[in-house]
């Protein structure tokens, strides 16, 4: 599992879109759904997460040779938790309103699997510079995803963007978009779009739609799966 050598540009750009943590790898979905009812919250959450990711990546890639392998996950979590505590308290001091909006979800950055995944997969094995580049790229990807959610939800659900009315005075807001179901529908819709985009990129595999002409032969998906397991 040694990471292949990549150029710095690739390190930076990887997480932005091609391996977008939220939209492609489905990591860190909790914050992407929970705190994107307004653009402001999305930005604040992205900033906090970026800080934690940068900080912990830096520290962990610096300490990578000093952390015993057996307890590395616990060590990573402790480091991340420390940075989260820092963010939690500084945000409370700097912007108490935003902190109140985000509530427990700032603390829950600890559990954002995206951060732990980057440490385990990248920062713990690479030099500091590359880890930072990767962290920046991943954070950018995270921010992009959160902004997509935040913008679609705030504009539709409230008719505003960053609190400024953008849909005209008589716009009827779709309240549902700032409620939990709306978050699920929005991310579902976006993921469907991403899936469509990925499917378009690949040459279409012709899958015969054999209903209702008959039963698929025994070389159906179930069989091939079993054969793979046997092999």
């Amino acid at each position: 599992m040694s990471p292949r050598q990549t150029t710095p540009t690739q390190d930076l750009m990887r997480g932005v879109w091609k391996e977008n943590p939220v939209l492609i790898q489905m990591l860190g979905l909790c914050p992407a759904l929970a705190v994107t009812n307004t653009v402001m919250n999305a930005i604040a959450m992205s900033a906090a997460t970026t800080f934690v990711l940068l900080g912990s990546s830096l520290l962990i890639s610096l300490l990578k040779n000093h952390i015993p392998k057996e307890v590395r996950i616990s060590a990573y979590i402790l480091i991340i938790a420390t940075f989260v505590t820092v963010v939690d308290f500084s945000l409370n001091a700097l912007a108490p309103l935003v902190h109140k909006e985000l509530g427990a979800f700032i603390a829950l950055i600890v559990c954002n699997c995206m951060i732990l995944a980057r440490q385990e997969a990248f920062a713990s094995k690479q030099r500091v510079g590359r880890s930072l580049l990767d962290a920046v790229g991943t954070s950018a990807g995270f921010t992009i995803a959160l902004l997509m959610m935040g913008i679609s939800r705030e504009v539709l659900g409230n008719g505003t963007f960053l609190g400024v009315n953008v849909m005209g005075p008589h716009f009827e807001p779709w309240i549902i978009m700032i409620l939990p179901p709306g978050a699920y529908f929005a991310i579902g819709f976006i993921l469907l779009g991403v899936g469509y985009w990925q499917e378009r990129k690949q040459p279409p595999t012709k899958r015969p739609r054999d209903w209702p002409h008959g039963v698929r032969s025994s070389t159906g998906p179930a069989d091939s799966r079993r054969e793979r397991q046997v092999a």
């Binding site: 005209g168 009827e172 549902i176 409620l179 179901p181």
Partner: protein, 355 residues
């Protein structure tokens, strides 16, 4: 004449009484088929709803036709554009739109009704692969979406005006995406709202014929019951579901009435709000209700229980829609535990755990 087996025919002697060689067809047994078809079932459901629509026109004016039409248009358009072929002809999209329309208030802006229908079909049905694959009743999912998206518009109930067919109530023609204008609407609270927030109980006769405020198709209990009876007689509907729901709601309201005298009687609970329409036309949707008879009873009991729970202790005056949606979600689970006992076997599904 005989392309692939030449034996026997040509060298047959004795030509009298011979026959034209038929073109034989090879098809799997059984070679007979009952006359019913899915499309016939669906269109029968639509047909039994026509009297309900006409009653809505009588009570709320011709504007209701526009509301229903907009919902149907939204449903059928999305089905036509994105769905697999043939889905318009089988009538399922039409039913979705029609049922959604019947649950909306009479003066509901048309663009919202359209969005409700489109959402119900798109996210409630097509995403699962179209007809027969959906988990939630698409009409109710559309309705729940509208309820969450436009809570004000969907709880504005214009007053019932029997006979004034040509009046159009509410701002039906509000521009798309725009707030409906503050037109002069005489509103009337629904019987359930009156009971919940004012403590007032509407007369049973009004509930029964439908001369009350409320969603345009939910009010006339008698017509809905007649339509349901027809569908039951034709075996197009599982009678266990409405019967189970009515029984549960009735019994529970009698039970709670023993402890709390202000709790309304069973007949009020059954005939107010959307319970009759929901029990007869929404809960019995074949796709989203359990396929087993045992499951149907559990399903009906669950709906009845949730309706009483939400009406009695929830924040909303009406809970039929949510009750049905929640039980829809439980249907796969209910079916799992109510598989029939196979002939010649002990009860219980064999456990097939993934190793």
């Amino acid at each position: 004449m005989r392309p692939w087996r030449g034996t026997g025919w040509e060298d047959r002697s004795g030509g009298e009484g011979t026959m034209e060689e038929p073109r034989l067809r090879l098809m799997a047994a059984p070679h007979l088929h009952a006359q019913d078809s899915t499309a016939r079932i669906m269109w029968s459901v639509v047909a039994t709803l026509v009297p309900v629509v006409l009653a809505a026109v009588w009570f709320f004016g011709a504007g209701v036709l526009l509301v229903i039409g907009a919902a149907m248009l939204g449903a059928m358009l999305v089905e036509r554009l994105l769905g697999p072929g043939g889905a318009i002809r089988d009538g399922s999209a039409a039913i979705t739109g029609l049922l959604l329309g019947l649950t909306l208030p009479p003066g509901f802006p048309l663009w919202m009704a359209f969005i409700g229908g489109a959402f119900g079909i798109g996210f409630g049905k097509l995403i699962f692969g179209g007809l027969g694959q959906n988990i939630f009743n698409p009409a109710l999912l559309g309705r729940a979406f509208l309820q969450a998206a436009f809570p004000t518009a969907i709880t504005t109930w214009p007053a019932v005006r029997p006979g004034e067919v040509l009046t159009f109530q509410g701002d039906l023609l509000a521009a798309p995406l725009m707030t409906p204008a503050e037109v002069d609407v005489v509103t009337q609270a629904t019987p359930l709202g009156l009971w919940k927030f004012e403590g007032e109980v509407t007369g049973l006769w009004d509930l029964f014929v439908g001369a009350t405020g409320g969603s345009l198709g939910e009010t006339s209990a008698i017509l809905i019951l007649l339509g349901g009876a027809y569908l039951v007689a034709r075996n197009y509907m599982n009678w266990r579901i409405p019967v189970g729901i009515f029984a549960t709601v009735g019994l529970l309201s009698i039970l709670f009435g023993l402890f709390d005298p202000t709790f309304p009687g069973p007949l009020f609970m059954i005939f107010s709000g959307g319970l009759v329409l929901g029990a007869v036309y929404m809960a019995t949707d074949m796709v989203t209700s359990p396929i087993t008879n045992g499951g149907a009873w559990i399903f009906a009991f669950g709906i009845g229980f949730l309706v009483v729970l939400i009406r009695g202790w929830g924040g909303l005056p009406e809970g039929v829609m949510y009750a049905i949606l929640i039980m829809n979600a439980l249907v796969p689970f209910i079916e799992r535990i109510t598989q029939p006992r196979v002939f010649g076997k002990e009860r219980g599904v064999k456990k097939a755990e993934a190793a």
